[in-house]
Protein backbone atom coordinates (compact mmCIF):
# COMPACT_ATOMS: atom_id res chain seq x y z
CA UNK A 1 0.00 0.00 0.00
CA UNK A 2 1.45 3.37 -0.98
CA UNK A 3 2.14 6.09 1.58
CA UNK A 4 -0.75 8.23 0.37
CA UNK A 5 -3.27 5.38 0.61
CA UNK A 6 -2.04 4.67 4.15
CA UNK A 7 -2.59 8.33 5.07
CA UNK A 8 -6.11 8.21 3.58
CA UNK A 9 -6.92 4.95 5.41
CA UNK A 10 -5.82 6.41 8.74
CA UNK A 11 -7.80 9.57 8.01
CA UNK A 12 -10.90 7.53 7.14
CA UNK A 13 -10.46 5.35 10.26
CA UNK A 14 -10.14 8.36 12.58
CA UNK A 15 -13.10 10.19 11.08
CA UNK A 16 -15.18 6.99 11.31
CA UNK A 17 -14.27 6.61 15.02
CA UNK A 18 -15.34 10.22 15.62
CA UNK A 19 -18.55 9.71 13.64
CA UNK A 20 -19.43 6.62 15.68
CA UNK A 21 -18.85 8.52 18.91
CA UNK A 22 -20.93 11.51 17.88
CA UNK A 23 -21.80 12.45 21.46
CA UNK A 24 -18.12 13.38 21.97
CA UNK A 25 -18.23 15.59 18.88
CA UNK A 26 -21.31 17.37 20.20
CA UNK A 27 -19.62 17.78 23.59
CA UNK A 28 -16.65 19.41 21.83
CA UNK A 29 -18.90 21.79 19.90
CA UNK A 30 -20.76 22.69 23.11
CA UNK A 31 -17.43 23.32 24.84
CA UNK A 32 -16.29 25.71 22.07
CA UNK A 33 -19.60 27.60 22.10
CA UNK A 34 -19.65 27.84 25.91
CA UNK A 35 -16.10 29.25 25.82
CA UNK A 36 -17.22 31.87 23.28
CA UNK A 37 -20.15 32.78 25.50
CA UNK A 38 -17.89 33.09 28.55
CA UNK A 39 -15.54 35.46 26.71
CA UNK A 40 -18.51 37.66 25.92
CA UNK A 41 -19.54 37.66 29.59
CA UNK A 42 -15.97 38.41 30.72
CA UNK A 43 -15.70 41.49 28.49
CA UNK A 44 -19.22 42.74 29.23
CA UNK A 45 -21.80 44.28 26.96
CA UNK A 46 -19.30 46.64 25.27
CA UNK A 47 -20.18 45.88 21.63
CA UNK A 48 -17.21 47.81 20.23
CA UNK A 49 -14.67 45.87 22.32
CA UNK A 50 -16.40 42.57 21.51
CA UNK A 51 -16.35 43.32 17.77
CA UNK A 52 -12.67 44.32 17.83
CA UNK A 53 -11.64 41.14 19.63
CA UNK A 54 -14.04 38.69 17.99
CA UNK A 55 -11.20 37.00 16.06
CA UNK A 56 -9.28 36.45 19.29
CA UNK A 57 -12.27 34.89 21.07
CA UNK A 58 -12.95 32.56 18.14
CA UNK A 59 -9.35 31.31 18.03
CA UNK A 60 -9.07 30.95 21.79
CA UNK A 61 -12.27 28.88 21.80
CA UNK A 62 -10.80 26.71 19.02
CA UNK A 63 -7.47 26.44 20.83
CA UNK A 64 -9.04 25.33 24.13
CA UNK A 65 -11.26 22.83 22.33
CA UNK A 66 -8.30 21.54 20.32
CA UNK A 67 -6.59 20.20 23.45
CA UNK A 68 -9.55 17.90 24.14
CA UNK A 69 -9.67 16.84 20.50
CA UNK A 70 -5.94 16.16 20.18
CA UNK A 71 -5.76 14.38 23.52
CA UNK A 72 -8.54 12.00 22.44
CA UNK A 73 -7.15 11.33 18.95
CA UNK A 74 -4.08 9.59 20.39
CA UNK A 75 -5.63 8.20 23.55
CA UNK A 76 -8.00 5.94 21.59
CA UNK A 77 -4.95 4.29 20.02
CA UNK A 78 -3.04 3.89 23.29
CA UNK A 79 -5.93 2.63 25.42
CA UNK A 80 -6.59 -0.41 23.26
CA UNK A 81 -2.99 -0.97 22.12
CA UNK A 82 -4.11 -0.08 18.60
CA UNK A 83 -0.98 1.95 17.92
CA UNK A 84 1.25 -1.15 18.21
CA UNK A 85 -1.07 -3.06 15.89
CA UNK A 86 -1.08 -0.21 13.39
CA UNK A 87 2.72 -0.19 13.36
CA UNK A 88 2.83 -3.98 12.97
CA UNK A 89 0.26 -3.88 10.12
CA UNK A 90 2.71 -2.46 8.86
CA UNK A 91 1.81 1.21 8.58
CA UNK A 92 4.50 3.85 8.18
CA UNK A 93 4.65 6.12 11.27
CA UNK A 94 4.70 9.16 8.98
CA UNK A 95 1.44 7.95 7.38
CA UNK A 96 -0.10 7.59 10.87
CA UNK A 97 1.02 11.12 11.71
CA UNK A 98 -0.27 12.73 8.52
CA UNK A 99 -3.54 10.76 8.68
CA UNK A 100 -4.16 11.82 12.27
CA UNK A 101 -3.04 15.42 11.73
CA UNK A 102 -5.35 15.69 8.69
CA UNK A 103 -8.24 14.24 10.68
CA UNK A 104 -7.61 16.73 13.51
CA UNK A 105 -7.33 19.58 11.00
CA UNK A 106 -10.66 18.68 9.38
CA UNK A 107 -12.37 18.46 12.77
CA UNK A 108 -10.96 21.84 13.81
CA UNK A 109 -12.12 23.40 10.53
CA UNK A 110 -15.59 21.94 11.12
CA UNK A 111 -15.56 23.34 14.66
CA UNK A 112 -14.46 26.74 13.31
CA UNK A 113 -17.22 26.76 10.69
CA UNK A 114 -19.83 25.98 13.37
CA UNK A 115 -18.43 28.51 15.84
CA UNK A 116 -18.10 31.31 13.24
CA UNK A 117 -21.79 32.39 13.03
CA UNK A 118 -22.05 32.27 16.83
CA UNK A 119 -18.97 34.53 17.08
CA UNK A 120 -20.46 36.95 14.56
CA UNK A 121 -23.77 37.00 16.44
CA UNK A 122 -22.37 37.21 20.00
CA UNK A 123 -19.79 39.88 19.15
CA UNK A 124 -22.02 41.79 16.74
CA UNK A 125 -19.32 41.41 14.06
CA UNK A 126 -19.72 41.23 10.29
CA UNK A 127 -17.69 39.93 7.38
CA UNK A 128 -16.20 43.16 6.06
CA UNK A 129 -13.29 41.52 4.24
CA UNK A 130 -13.13 38.63 1.79
CA UNK A 131 -14.67 35.31 2.92
CA UNK A 132 -11.79 33.60 1.08
CA UNK A 133 -9.30 35.22 3.47
CA UNK A 134 -11.40 33.96 6.38
CA UNK A 135 -11.43 30.46 4.91
CA UNK A 136 -7.65 30.53 4.32
CA UNK A 137 -7.12 31.74 7.88
CA UNK A 138 -9.34 28.96 9.26
CA UNK A 139 -7.67 26.22 7.20
CA UNK A 140 -4.08 27.35 7.79
CA UNK A 141 -4.74 28.11 11.48
CA UNK A 142 -6.30 24.69 12.05
CA UNK A 143 -3.34 23.05 10.32
CA UNK A 144 -1.00 25.03 12.59
CA UNK A 145 -2.76 23.70 15.71
CA UNK A 146 -3.07 20.15 14.41
CA UNK A 147 0.54 19.30 13.46
CA UNK A 148 2.43 20.11 16.69
CA UNK A 149 -0.69 19.15 18.66
CA UNK A 150 -0.73 15.63 17.20
CA UNK A 151 2.97 15.18 17.92
CA UNK A 152 2.62 16.44 21.50
CA UNK A 153 -0.47 14.28 22.05
CA UNK A 154 1.65 11.27 21.02
CA UNK A 155 4.46 12.40 23.34
CA UNK A 156 2.16 12.71 26.33
CA UNK A 157 -0.22 9.83 25.49
CA UNK A 158 1.30 7.38 27.98
CA UNK A 159 1.80 9.91 30.77
CA UNK A 160 -0.54 10.43 33.68
CA UNK A 161 -1.70 14.05 33.83
CA UNK A 162 -1.69 14.32 30.05
CA UNK A 163 -4.59 16.80 30.04
CA UNK A 164 -2.39 19.32 31.86
CA UNK A 165 0.86 18.63 30.03
CA UNK A 166 -0.51 18.86 26.49
CA UNK A 167 -1.66 22.51 26.76
CA UNK A 168 1.47 23.41 28.74
CA UNK A 169 3.63 22.20 25.84
CA UNK A 170 1.36 23.27 23.01
CA UNK A 171 0.25 26.77 24.01
CA UNK A 172 3.66 28.50 24.07
CA UNK A 173 4.64 26.76 20.85
CA UNK A 174 1.68 27.90 18.79
CA UNK A 175 1.85 31.58 19.84
CA UNK A 176 3.05 32.69 16.35
CA UNK A 177 0.26 30.73 14.64
CA UNK A 178 -2.33 32.04 17.10
CA UNK A 179 -1.16 35.63 16.52
CA UNK A 180 -1.30 35.23 12.75
CA UNK A 181 -4.68 33.48 12.76
CA UNK A 182 -6.23 36.04 15.14
CA UNK A 183 -4.84 38.96 13.13
CA UNK A 184 -5.96 37.64 9.74
CA UNK A 185 -9.44 36.76 11.09
CA UNK A 186 -9.83 40.12 12.85
CA UNK A 187 -8.89 41.92 9.62
CA UNK A 188 -11.80 40.16 7.90
CA UNK A 189 -14.15 41.37 10.66
CA UNK A 190 -12.84 44.96 10.88
CA UNK A 191 -11.59 45.62 7.34
CA UNK A 192 -8.07 45.56 5.95
CA UNK A 193 -7.26 48.97 4.40
CA UNK A 194 -3.48 48.38 4.68
CA UNK A 195 -3.75 44.89 3.12
CA UNK A 196 -1.90 43.19 5.98
CA UNK A 197 -3.81 39.91 5.96
CA UNK A 198 -1.56 38.48 3.20
CA UNK A 199 1.53 38.79 5.46
CA UNK A 200 -0.23 37.06 8.35
CA UNK A 201 -1.42 34.24 6.10
CA UNK A 202 2.13 33.89 4.78
CA UNK A 203 3.40 33.56 8.35
CA UNK A 204 0.78 30.85 8.98
CA UNK A 205 1.85 29.08 5.80
CA UNK A 206 5.52 29.16 6.88
CA UNK A 207 4.59 27.86 10.35
CA UNK A 208 2.60 25.02 8.76
CA UNK A 209 5.40 24.15 6.33
CA UNK A 210 7.96 23.97 9.17
CA UNK A 211 5.82 21.99 11.63
CA UNK A 212 4.13 19.64 9.16
CA UNK A 213 7.63 18.63 8.01
CA UNK A 214 9.47 18.42 11.32
CA UNK A 215 6.63 16.76 13.26
CA UNK A 216 6.22 14.17 10.49
CA UNK A 217 9.90 13.26 10.83
CA UNK A 218 9.88 13.12 14.66
CA UNK A 219 6.58 11.24 15.04
CA UNK A 220 8.19 7.93 14.01
CA UNK A 221 10.72 8.19 16.84
CA UNK A 222 7.95 8.95 19.35
CA UNK A 223 5.65 6.02 18.55
CA UNK A 224 8.30 3.40 17.81
CA UNK A 225 10.07 3.66 21.19
Amino acid sequence: MSGLSQVLWILQKDLLIEWRARSRVFALISFALTTLLLFSFAVGPDTKALREHAGGYLWLALLFSSTALLDRSLRVEEESGAMDNLLLAPTAPTAIFYGKALSNTLQLIMLGVIAMPFTLALCDAALVGSPLTLLASLVLGSMALAAPGTLYAALTARISGQQLLLPLLLFPLIVPALLAAVKSTTLVFTGDPMEQSGSWLLLLLCFDAVYWSICGILFGKVVET
Binding site: L169, V175, A180, S199, L218
Partner: protein, 232 residues
Amino acid sequence: MKWFHISGVIGVILLIIGHGMGLFVAPKEAMMGETGRILYVHVPTAWIALVSYLCAFIAAVGALWNGKRTWDASVVGFVEVGVVLTALLLFQGSVWGRATWSTWWTWDPRLTTSAILLVAFSAVLLLRSVIEQPERRMLVSSVATIVAFVDVPIVYMSTKWWNSLHQTMSSPATVSETMVTPLRIAAFGMLFLMLGFVGLRRRIELVRLEREWSLAPPPERPAALNLNEEGT
Protein backbone atom coordinates in the same frame (compact mmCIF):
# COMPACT_ATOMS: atom_id res chain seq x y z
CA MET B 1 39.57 19.97 39.90
CA LYS B 2 37.29 19.22 36.95
CA TRP B 3 37.07 21.24 33.72
CA PHE B 4 33.73 22.73 34.72
CA HIS B 5 35.15 24.04 37.99
CA ILE B 6 37.92 25.80 36.04
CA SER B 7 35.39 27.10 33.50
CA GLY B 8 33.18 28.46 36.31
CA VAL B 9 36.13 30.21 38.02
CA ILE B 10 37.27 31.76 34.70
CA GLY B 11 33.67 32.85 34.12
CA VAL B 12 33.38 34.58 37.51
CA ILE B 13 36.74 36.36 37.05
CA LEU B 14 35.79 37.57 33.54
CA LEU B 15 32.36 38.70 34.77
CA ILE B 16 33.96 40.71 37.61
CA ILE B 17 36.38 42.36 35.14
CA GLY B 18 33.66 42.96 32.49
CA HIS B 19 31.11 44.35 34.93
CA GLY B 20 33.78 46.39 36.75
CA MET B 21 34.85 47.98 33.45
CA GLY B 22 31.20 48.49 32.51
CA LEU B 23 30.48 50.27 35.79
CA PHE B 24 33.65 52.33 36.28
CA VAL B 25 35.58 52.60 32.97
CA ALA B 26 33.01 52.67 30.16
CA PRO B 27 31.32 56.02 29.39
CA LYS B 28 27.68 56.68 30.18
CA GLU B 29 25.20 55.63 27.52
CA ALA B 30 24.26 58.74 25.46
CA MET B 31 20.45 58.41 25.77
CA MET B 32 19.90 56.45 28.99
CA GLY B 33 22.81 57.72 31.12
CA GLU B 34 23.85 55.56 34.08
CA THR B 35 20.80 53.29 33.62
CA GLY B 36 22.30 52.08 30.34
CA ARG B 37 25.07 50.28 32.23
CA ILE B 38 22.68 47.39 32.84
CA LEU B 39 23.44 46.37 29.25
CA TYR B 40 26.74 44.83 30.42
CA VAL B 41 24.68 42.31 32.39
CA HIS B 42 21.54 42.11 30.26
CA VAL B 43 23.02 41.63 26.78
CA PRO B 44 25.47 38.81 27.74
CA THR B 45 22.62 37.05 29.59
CA ALA B 46 20.48 37.19 26.44
CA TRP B 47 23.27 35.96 24.16
CA ILE B 48 24.30 33.10 26.42
CA ALA B 49 20.69 32.02 27.07
CA LEU B 50 20.28 31.60 23.30
CA VAL B 51 23.66 29.80 23.05
CA SER B 52 22.45 27.48 25.81
CA TYR B 53 19.23 26.65 23.92
CA LEU B 54 21.19 26.14 20.70
CA CYS B 55 23.49 23.66 22.50
CA ALA B 56 20.40 21.96 24.02
CA PHE B 57 18.99 21.58 20.51
CA ILE B 58 22.26 20.04 19.23
CA ALA B 59 22.41 17.71 22.25
CA ALA B 60 18.76 16.72 21.70
CA VAL B 61 19.49 15.82 18.06
CA GLY B 62 22.50 13.82 19.29
CA ALA B 63 20.38 12.02 21.92
CA LEU B 64 17.77 11.10 19.31
CA TRP B 65 20.46 10.02 16.87
CA ASN B 66 22.48 7.66 19.08
CA GLY B 67 20.43 7.32 22.30
CA LYS B 68 23.41 7.81 24.62
CA ARG B 69 22.90 8.96 28.21
CA THR B 70 25.71 11.54 27.89
CA TRP B 71 23.68 13.44 25.27
CA ASP B 72 20.55 13.17 27.41
CA ALA B 73 22.41 14.58 30.44
CA SER B 74 23.68 17.43 28.23
CA VAL B 75 20.10 18.25 27.17
CA VAL B 76 19.10 18.55 30.84
CA GLY B 77 22.13 20.73 31.66
CA PHE B 78 21.67 23.15 28.76
CA VAL B 79 17.88 23.44 29.09
CA GLU B 80 18.00 24.00 32.86
CA VAL B 81 20.73 26.64 32.65
CA GLY B 82 18.95 28.22 29.66
CA VAL B 83 15.73 28.48 31.68
CA VAL B 84 17.55 30.10 34.63
CA LEU B 85 19.28 32.58 32.29
CA THR B 86 15.96 33.42 30.57
CA ALA B 87 14.31 34.05 33.96
CA LEU B 88 17.22 36.35 34.86
CA LEU B 89 16.93 38.02 31.47
CA LEU B 90 13.25 38.79 32.00
CA PHE B 91 13.94 40.18 35.47
CA GLN B 92 16.77 42.41 34.19
CA GLY B 93 14.64 43.47 31.21
CA SER B 94 11.77 44.42 33.51
CA VAL B 95 14.04 46.52 35.73
CA TRP B 96 15.56 48.22 32.67
CA GLY B 97 12.11 48.71 31.11
CA ARG B 98 10.84 50.35 34.30
CA ALA B 99 13.74 52.83 34.25
CA THR B 100 13.63 53.66 30.53
CA TRP B 101 10.07 53.01 29.35
CA SER B 102 8.35 53.54 32.77
CA THR B 103 6.75 50.12 32.67
CA TRP B 104 7.67 46.71 34.11
CA TRP B 105 6.33 44.87 31.09
CA THR B 106 5.58 45.64 27.47
CA TRP B 107 4.61 43.43 24.52
CA ASP B 108 7.88 44.01 22.75
CA PRO B 109 9.08 41.18 20.43
CA ARG B 110 12.22 40.36 22.38
CA LEU B 111 10.46 40.45 25.77
CA THR B 112 7.59 38.37 24.45
CA THR B 113 9.94 35.89 22.76
CA SER B 114 11.94 35.53 26.00
CA ALA B 115 8.76 34.92 28.01
CA ILE B 116 7.57 32.29 25.52
CA LEU B 117 11.03 30.64 25.56
CA LEU B 118 10.89 30.48 29.36
CA VAL B 119 7.45 28.85 29.35
CA ALA B 120 8.24 26.49 26.46
CA PHE B 121 11.49 25.15 27.92
CA SER B 122 10.09 25.03 31.48
CA ALA B 123 7.37 22.78 30.03
CA VAL B 124 10.11 20.51 28.60
CA LEU B 125 11.61 20.18 32.10
CA LEU B 126 8.18 19.56 33.60
CA LEU B 127 7.45 16.89 30.99
CA ARG B 128 10.78 15.27 31.75
CA SER B 129 10.07 15.20 35.47
CA VAL B 130 6.87 13.15 35.11
CA ILE B 131 8.29 10.32 32.96
CA GLU B 132 9.83 7.48 34.94
CA GLN B 133 11.15 5.24 32.16
CA PRO B 134 14.66 6.54 31.27
CA GLU B 135 14.58 5.66 27.55
CA ARG B 136 11.16 7.17 27.01
CA ARG B 137 12.16 10.26 29.01
CA MET B 138 15.25 10.81 26.84
CA LEU B 139 13.21 10.49 23.67
CA VAL B 140 10.33 12.68 24.80
CA SER B 141 12.52 15.48 26.17
CA SER B 142 14.74 15.44 23.04
CA VAL B 143 11.74 15.72 20.71
CA ALA B 144 10.16 18.48 22.84
CA THR B 145 13.48 20.39 22.93
CA ILE B 146 13.89 20.21 19.14
CA VAL B 147 10.31 21.35 18.50
CA ALA B 148 10.58 24.21 21.04
CA PHE B 149 13.89 25.43 19.59
CA VAL B 150 12.59 25.49 16.00
CA ASP B 151 9.84 27.84 17.24
CA VAL B 152 12.27 30.57 18.43
CA PRO B 153 12.78 32.45 15.11
CA ILE B 154 9.07 32.15 14.21
CA VAL B 155 8.00 33.54 17.60
CA TYR B 156 10.45 36.41 17.18
CA MET B 157 9.26 37.28 13.67
CA SER B 158 5.58 37.09 14.58
CA THR B 159 5.89 39.26 17.68
CA LYS B 160 8.07 41.72 15.72
CA TRP B 161 5.28 42.19 13.19
CA TRP B 162 2.76 42.37 16.00
CA ASN B 163 4.30 45.21 17.98
CA SER B 164 7.72 46.73 18.58
CA LEU B 165 9.18 49.08 21.19
CA HIS B 166 12.64 47.63 21.85
CA GLN B 167 15.58 49.66 20.60
CA THR B 168 17.16 48.40 17.37
CA MET B 169 20.15 46.12 17.66
CA SER B 170 23.54 47.84 17.84
CA SER B 171 26.65 46.51 16.12
CA PRO B 172 30.30 46.92 17.28
CA ALA B 173 30.80 49.36 14.36
CA THR B 174 28.28 51.82 15.88
CA VAL B 175 29.33 51.45 19.53
CA SER B 176 32.39 52.99 21.20
CA GLU B 177 35.32 50.59 21.78
CA THR B 178 35.28 51.48 25.49
CA MET B 179 31.76 50.02 25.64
CA VAL B 180 32.34 47.02 23.35
CA THR B 181 35.35 45.67 25.31
CA PRO B 182 33.59 45.26 28.70
CA LEU B 183 30.56 43.85 26.89
CA ARG B 184 32.69 41.21 25.17
CA ILE B 185 34.55 40.33 28.38
CA ALA B 186 31.23 40.00 30.27
CA ALA B 187 29.81 37.85 27.44
CA PHE B 188 32.78 35.48 27.56
CA GLY B 189 32.50 35.46 31.36
CA MET B 190 28.84 34.48 31.12
CA LEU B 191 29.71 31.81 28.53
CA PHE B 192 32.35 30.20 30.75
CA LEU B 193 30.07 30.41 33.78
CA MET B 194 27.24 28.80 31.79
CA LEU B 195 29.57 26.00 30.64
CA GLY B 196 30.69 25.51 34.24
CA PHE B 197 27.11 25.17 35.49
CA VAL B 198 26.12 22.93 32.58
CA GLY B 199 29.16 20.71 33.16
CA LEU B 200 28.28 20.35 36.85
CA ARG B 201 24.58 19.73 36.15
CA ARG B 202 25.45 17.24 33.39
CA ARG B 203 27.70 15.30 35.76
CA ILE B 204 25.00 15.14 38.45
CA GLU B 205 22.44 13.99 35.87
CA LEU B 206 24.84 11.35 34.48
CA VAL B 207 25.39 9.87 37.95
CA ARG B 208 21.62 9.84 38.51
CA LEU B 209 20.98 8.22 35.12
CA GLU B 210 23.68 5.56 35.64
CA ARG B 211 22.07 4.65 38.98
CA GLU B 212 18.59 4.64 37.47
CA TRP B 213 19.60 2.40 34.54
CA SER B 214 21.41 -0.02 36.84
CA LEU B 215 18.30 -0.28 39.06
CA ALA B 216 15.80 -0.45 36.17
CA PRO B 217 14.22 -3.91 35.65
CA PRO B 218 15.14 -5.69 32.39
CA PRO B 219 12.68 -5.04 29.54
CA GLU B 220 9.78 -7.51 29.31
CA ARG B 221 9.99 -10.13 26.60
CA PRO B 222 7.35 -9.86 23.87
CA ALA B 223 4.41 -12.22 24.32
CA ALA B 224 4.99 -13.79 20.88
CA LEU B 225 8.51 -14.86 21.90
CA ASN B 226 7.21 -16.54 25.07
CA LEU B 227 4.65 -18.48 23.04
CA ASN B 228 7.30 -19.74 20.62
CA GLU B 229 9.58 -20.87 23.43
CA GLU B 230 6.78 -22.83 24.99
CA GLY B 231 6.15 -24.42 21.60
CA THR B 232 2.47 -23.46 21.50
